[in-house]
Symmetry: D2
Subunit: 377 residues, 4 copies
């Protein structure tokens, strides 16, 4: 970090700043220009108390230099990127094979989730998703999920999807809304907990998930910057938890045609520049239009996603929620095949061209995103 | 609601749609054009099962006609707008006087919150705010509030602010993060519960607050449209709860200079077009810059806010959180006086010019926001 | 279009509206509900004078039903989509082969553009781009292009790129800034005119381009909705001009990491739902980060783009503008090969799975974007 | 500016960077930390060739320190802010009195503009606005202004508004679309040229306006950051032109209710932190809803605007463009009176409380916007 002094700061003011920093246990350096002086601060600036320095006389501004997230970022030395794998049951995310997770928006009945599981299995999917308590943007939407009324109903709903998953050999992914429900999910045998977009910044929930052994898929909030999102992901990981999967599901923009805007640039940045965690693409919520899920998913894979998370339903026409974006059976079959072909091509292209595409890690680092901020000025 | 049939829909397809609607208990009407047919649906369309109609052969699209939120909207007949008042302790929000709520971002110690309460009282404020558990966008920020560690610490922190408020005759407003904590807040004697921006769409928390007798200030999420936000507010009110206060605290936009963008157009829309609930303006989070809080707050009052919610601190230079946006004592004194003068002027102007400004309620309704959507095409 | 009457509108008011519409040459229909009346309007509503109807007593709102753009939209019957091809010199865009356009941000000298043309040719590109007058977000950036000073300098700069293109058999694409310069571009032998993002809504320029025989690449403005952009494209085409190419180059969003946010959902919507025009993907401006151009381009192709437009430079390290996003030679070679492989796969997948992916054209139409708006309510 | 070296940069690489900077005529300083080295660059960095330094071996990033706009920023020493005034005809903007500019969206006929001028005069306005060539987001809107067909029609249209203005003693403000038309506007006797939002980044037009003696109102583009906008304004002023007026007319955001989002935080920042130029508030385009123009305008004045620019029409019900946002006569009369009362109050409050509100200029500078960027990390 740098402390930028005001143009009219006195020598004494600079010394006071340095003295204060030394008292706080930091080392400093000084850069005296013709117009102003900068004081460099060395050490773990996350331990610098807010306001201690920036309010001292003669100080104009603090300028951060390094990235703020540590655990969510690439587990690597600059020349040896290491990517994490996260297991959902027996399915490995971020490894050699594409992990394809699908299922209905919500679990509606035993028959429906059984049929959905059969559909996912037959289409070639790897894991089963399905909500037992559901977000609804309107309180008048009616259906809020089988498990919405109380803990017993939640348990019963979870049992249904776990049963369906086990019947067809599919690990299960279920969204959670209330931090108090974590033990219920763990006890029910769910294989992965999902944090939905509306809860992306739900601090109480994220803190609570630090201690679950279950893997977590954390969806990006629709107004979170790429790196700000990683800081919220980092929150779950601060206690040492490692099995977290990123998920891009569309962000807010000037575009009003699709439900959200799928940010493939951030997918690419997660995969190739910022993080070693597996990245999922959720094109169902990103587009909100059933027939755009197919091309948007393939785009997400090509950008760097190694996990696909899409909604499908035995009969979307009678789905109790989000039926407009749920895939029909034929569509799911087609998408799994097309996704695997796309994944295969991307792996070949990564092998053939990635060194050229990014030149080399050292160079990539130098040309990193921080760089472009200068050019935008 | 209207059902728009495809251009090539057959007469039988139209009849099937109408029959299905009748089966579901709706009445219908028909509008046959040269190019296509529209079927009107009469009744409570919130009871229409998703997918039932829109997937029938020949159907192209459903077109909604009426507003989706009921309780958060104006409690009025077209020509007699009625505005709610909400009491926080003995302070009335939305009434004849401006309600001015201030205090530190977080309660740091008994001495600090006592001094803060004294400051708010002496400056002429009406209620005391202060967080006991705090949001932090980075898990490495360190300070997450006096009450962050466990329920006991939460109780202790709440006791401090309640004590300070009572000492100076100021009702207290405290943010909540976890639905499980509601009884703790109620028991501690807090006068109002605040929902922060990151929790604006936290369904579990909003559902839980339906049953608290305490008034709730619900901050707008930074990517929520004006009306979408009202739907989340509506969620708290669906069980009959009425004492809710809206709060505009800035939304995301292309602007990167201020922390968020204060949306005075929505404040005006809440006040003059959409809702009878009191509206608070939080310029601290909207601007994120201490010296812009003053003009932005006055702008918010002029746009229609009847409650001010700003951060102030006995010494912002040593605040443990958000010190950059907390007002100094002199600033708070100045802002309370300027805010009351602005409120006084707005009331005079409303009396003198509002009928001309909006012509009349009937006209206003006709020129409502729905209208402009047509012109945007 | 529908005229929605107020709930309290009288029968006379409805009749007055219908009478006025008849006077204006429209046919009408009527849909009387239990709560309100709708009047359907048949005919070319673009001829309806603004304000004539919506201000009549008893009228609440006009509700549009059909799309506002005609020529930029798919040249097709519902079951027979027809896609346009646009020729840039001898290179066909939107046809069987991917069109790969590349070159430096700006033409800097004869030697530089010659070397750039050689690079594009050797890498396997199809056409050469290069700016002769350049946008700069700061007036202090210095370099505004070889042609910035006057018409003579513009002519000279254009001659250089045309010469380079012809030397290597590459048609040329050059951006224009001033409507007065169109004849200069035509006379110089440029093969395609490009409209940059800052000019996306430059009405004088778009109007002027109606009459040029040259093909036009029209970049989407960074705050334009998918369909609003098509309306600006439509402006060029209203006189009958057909050789226009869409270009997605990133839009504004909450994301601050990449320069803009590449909207692959809109690329997919252009290709599969809204338009028959060829779509170009410009990942250089979308990401602003050299090393993300590769994955983002491949994502764009997979989403539906048939034209690639990226910046490359013989030596980006000494580029006079946008050097941070210009590809190195090795990167361009890799990207052309990877792009062609991706294009090949997408064509195979389109053949194999598109009918399933979108079920059928009739269904696609029914599940169109208009639909999801209902569900978002 | 600072050059941030890579952690593994060698001493030789640092020396090479310094040597190169010296060759380019810059002075340097050095700050050696335990982890990395920073090289400070002193001098006019706008003269630093792009790419020269950032691509040298061992360089990681360039970090800008100072503001990039000079002329558009406050003409002041830190303790003596000086505000510009700009004269439109005999009306002073940015001075002691509020300048109120109004008129129809477009000049439709001699009778209409005469009646509009009478309305503005009688309501107490100071200047007359009216478009002779009009932006339309759809090419099918029909009406593009009296002057849309050719130069003769443009001249004729301009003559009408100038005549009307002179008849009622109101200087005139007219939007321009084509750089080639500047002399036509000058010769016609127009008193001020307006740049509309779609042309906010029209480089050819902005460059051309450098040399007009007429004052210019430059509207902010709806996706331009506060400071990025000032850089486009700066473009007009680089040749020495000083009579430029800023205009906030709403920006894009998540809000879909109003046409745009009026950014009062940026108005406050222009007025109190960034610029000495007069600031206009255009609430007509910011809200797009006639009945919200009144409260939004008052909010804009309270935030710091000294010029009001709103649309009014003798009869908005028959306006050929933007009739939905044009004020009725009664509304304009009410708004002028309310605006002047609000202006009066703001001046009193500025006198009474501004020193407290902003503490002091030195402090304000220290707490400037750059600061908050640190806290956002």
């Amino acid at each position: 970090m740098l402390v930028k002094m005001r143009r009219d700061a006195t020598a004494d003011e600079v010394k006071t700043v340095e003295g204060k920093l030394h008292d706080l246990g930091f080392k400093t350096g000084r850069l005296e220009g013709t117009e102003l002086t900068l004081v460099g601060v060395y050490g773990d600036i996350s331990k610098l108390p807010s306001g201690e320095i920036e309010e001292l006389p003669g100080v104009e501004q603090l300028i951060p230099i390094s990235r703020a997230y540590k655990r969510a970022s690439q587990k690597s030395t600059p020349d040896k990127p290491i990517f994490s794998t996260v297991d959902i049951g027996k399915v490995t995310c971020g490894g050699d094979a594409l992990a394809f997770i699908s299922g209905p928006c919500s679990v509606e009945s035993e028959a429906q989730i059984m049929e959905a599981a059969r559909l996912v299995k037959e289409a070639g999917g790897n894991a089963l998703r399905g909500g037992v308590v559901k977000y609804r943007s309107s309180p008048y939407s009616g259906w809020e999920g089988l498990g919405a009324s109380d803990t017993e109903s939640l348990k019963k709903g979870l049992r249904l999807i776990v049963k369906a998953g086990r019947e067809f050999g599919l690990p299960t992914v279920v969204e959670i809304l209330d931090p108090g429900d974590v033990p219920v999910y763990e006890d029910a045998g769910v294989d992965c907990i999902q944090i939905g977009e509306p809860n992306s910044k739900n601090q109480a929930l994220l803190n609570r998930l630090r201690s679950t052994p279950l893997p977590v898929i954390h969806k990006r909030g629709n107004s979170l910057d790429t790196e700000a999102y990683l800081l919220w992901v980092e929150r779950i990981m601060t206690g040492g938890k490692e099995n977290v999967i990123l998920c891009e599901r569309g962000i807010a923009s000037a575009n009003r045609y699709t439900r959200n805007t799928l940010d493939v640039g951030s997918i690419a940045a997660f995969r190739y520049q910022l993080s070693g965690l597996p990245v999922a693409v959720d094109s169902s919520h990103a587009t909100g239009i059933r027939d755009l899920v197919h091309p948007a998913t393939l785009a997400g894979i090509m950008a760097g996603a190694s996990v696909v998370l899409v909604e499908a339903h035995p009969n979307p026409l009678i789905a109790k929620s989000d039926g407009h974006q749920g895939l029909f059976a034929e569509q799911l079959h087609a998408l799994v095949k097309a996704s695997r072909a796309t994944w295969q091509l991307r792996r070949e292209l990564d092998q053939a061209y990635l060194p050229s595409a990014t030149l080399d890690i050292a160079y990539k680092d130098r040309m990193s995103a921080d760089r472009k901020r200068f050019f935008d000025k």
